[in-house]
Symmetry: none
Subunit: 180 residues, 2 copies
DNA sequence: GAGCCGATCGGGGGGATGATTA
DNA sequence: CCTAATCATCCCCCCGATCGGC
């Protein structure tokens, strides 16, 4: 067990829970936790084989292919798949996001870069914040976005928008990957 | 909602797992654990048939999640969540603190390092106290802070500010953790 | 402004890292 | 001299916007 240990404080009720789940002599709180959380024990011993695990253990997100995710459905729909350019896809996704929750979408107005304003209620606002910003109206929406940016930045913007609007990482990743 | 706390040592891999499962600012390891261990079979739709993995808990008390004190509300608000950089978050929190009590905020002027002045009423004051100090105005505030410091020091500063302004440890910790 | 998209490259800033000092 | 904490240099990444490609 050559592992770095960390010390944390836990609520007594959790402590009790751990106690109740001690399975053999000599188990440390860490051992019990590892089992309960379904982690492979660090050094020794066996692990409880339990495939379905609720806890997100890795950063790797297995991308769901079926529309378990509302946005997946959209990203695979003809309406979206028509688009060829990254800009079109970018705008299209934003438009869909707006439609899903027009109120909350207003939050995107908070996003900006070092100097540029990323979103606005008019193209002029955006033009004022930088040069050759190429503002475009997000279709069927009262909002505008800047459009002159590396694809990588468009992805970044999409990621920020998704986070702000409260989407889960998987949906966010899907949307980001779709900007291309 | 005061609970006795217990201190335990856990494997670093578990610690990392907890970190990856932090859902909102201000959550303690205990909060995260509570959520993970408490997991109902499945939140949505189908249930994972994995009794092997089920935690024995006759605990009827739903384990408390993070208390909602005012600053946590802010830390989870769009206004704060927009920010990507540690500096931005740092400034944003300070701005919020100022707004809550502009008078008392003046206390921060007392904070300094070995040679550098940390806060001031102008950028020049701060520049005079060190090199490449990168003074920035705290938004919507007559105060400036130095900005060129390791994140760890920004956290320290935040901690000091919170203490000076009389915030409780939980709020302080939440603010400190949010600088990242 | 009006052709439009977006890669490329210059510039600037964040903040890690190594230096410095108590 | 050694350690811990602060300082500030400087690398790297990110953003901006020009300009090449279609």
């Amino acid at each position: 067990m050559e592992q770095t240990m960390k010390t944390i404080e836990i609520d007594e009720s959790i402590y009790d829970l751990l106690l109740r789940n001690v399975n053999s002599f000599g188990e440390t709180p860490s051992d019990v936790l590892a089992r309960l959380l379904n982690l492979a024990p660090s050094g020794n011993g066996r692990r409880a084989a339990s495939p379905t695990n609720q806890v997100s253990q890795e950063t790797k997100t297995p991308i769901p292919t079926s529309p378990q995710n509302p946005i997946m459905g959209f990203l695979n729909s003809p309406d979206f798949l028509v688009h060829g350019y990254a800009v079109e896809k970018f705008l299209s996704i934003l438009s869909w996001l707006y439609k899903r929750d027009p109120e909350k979408f207003a939050q995107v107005l908070l996003l900006n870069g070092r100097s540029r304003q990323y979103f606005g209620r008019s193209g002029e606002v955006l033009e004022a914040s930088g040069n050759s910003v190429m503002p475009k109206r997000i279709p069927d929406t009262p909002y505008w976005v800047i459009t002159n940016s590396p694809t990588q930045l468009k992805k970044q913007m999409m990621s920020d928008v998704m986070r702000l609007l409260g989407y889960d990482p998987a949906s966010s990743r899907a949307a980001v990957d779709a900007v291309r």
